[in-house]
Amino acid sequence: MDAANIAVAAKYIGAGLAAIGTGAAGIGVGTLFGQFLNGALRNPSAVDGQFGRLIFGFAVTEALGIFALLIAFLLLFAV
């Protein structure tokens, strides 16, 4: 096996490792919506006022998963 093949293999392994980060973001988003639903079922009247914060938290959490996905894509296509 020559060095070029090892480099390609390392690239794909790195991309796969980076994609683990999206799962971590999945935990975050799940916690976010779970906790929101938990609170929302206890006090349904407060749901409408907090919806903006829910979406905001979702976007900020989701962005971290996107960062990991970005690294994976960069390794796959740009390196």
């Binding site: 070029a4 390609v8 979406i55 905001f56 979702f58 976007a59 900020v60 989701e62 962005a63 996107i66 960062f67 996905l69 970005l70 894509f73 296509f77 740009a78």
Partner: protein
């Protein structure tokens, strides 16, 4: 990548192409597809607002209702995040919101170009916000602006550490602010392109696999809907963070 790569290169959609070559005094001022789509976004937002404001009737039509909704949405955001004194910066925040939203939405049209998927654009916008916050904060509050880095109620022995963390987090703001928008748009468009590429690959592979091409096609449609949400959401988040940072500049003690 040259060897064993996919037939469709998902990065290719982000390449900047020159449309009109313009060189002034040795500098490259060429009209590229990036600047063309920025102009389209600006023209669309100006057109929406101009048509929406032209009627001025008591019973709004479609365009006027849309323009008023956009105005009210951003105005509500500025008021809730930065207070009534933050309304001085409403024009800046509104321009940022409309520009980013329309760049994102125009980029979703197939075969078009997404301006906000280039980090140079988002970093420029984030640095604009960052320096606005620093300059306004120092002008408004003088040295009190630096109370931003010294939270109240922190025990004295841990204060140096907290101040260091606050300063680092303040300086890293433009980075996270810009990378969030850029990475979301980039990753979303690459994902769309990869799934679109699956459709083409399956169609080209043989008669048996042609029927399977429906699956990634359906996925592409679903992802497109998600991207529509993300396009709006990221414009909202960028503007919301801008409002929060402006709030820090206007009321530095209050956090």
């Amino acid at each position: 990548m040259a060897e064993a790569g996919p037939a469709i290169n998902p990065i290719e959609q982000f390449s900047i192409l020159k449309i009109v070559d313009i060189h002034i005094a040795g500098h490259d001022f060429s009209l590229t597809n990036s600047s063309l789509y920025m102009m389209i976004a600006v023209a669309l937002s100006c057109g929406l607002m101009a048509i929406g404001a032209a009627g001025g009737s008591g019973v709004p039509g479609r365009m006027q209702a849309m323009a008023e909704m956009a105005y009210e949405f951003v105005a509500g955001m500025v008021r809730s995040a930065a207070g009534e004194s933050g309304m001085r910066f409403f024009p800046l925040v509104f321009c940022l919101f409309m520009f980013i939203l329309l760049c994102n939405l125009v980029g979703l049209v197939p075969y078009s170009f997404t301006v906000t998927s280039h980090i140079i654009v988002t970093v420029s916008l984030a640095l604009l916000v960052f320096f606005t916050v620093v300059i306004v904060g120092v002008m408004e509050n003088g040295l009190h602006f630096f109370k931003l880095f010294v939270p109240s109620g922190v025990p004295i022995y841990i204060l140096p550490l907290v101040v260091a963390i606050e300063i680092i987090s303040f300086l890293s703001r433009p980075l996270s602010h810009s990378v969030r928008l850029f990475a979301n748009m980039l990753a979303g468009h690459i994902t769309l392109n990869v799934f679109g590429g699956f459709v083409v690959m399956l169609l080209g592979a043989g008669a048996l696999t042609k029927a399977l091409a429906v699956l990634p096609f359906a996925m592409t449609i679903g992802l497109d809907a998600l991207e529509l949400l993300v396009a709006f959401l990221q414009a909202y988040v960028f503007t919301m963070l801008t409002c929060m940072y402006l709030n820090d500049a206007l009321h530095p003690g209050g956090h």
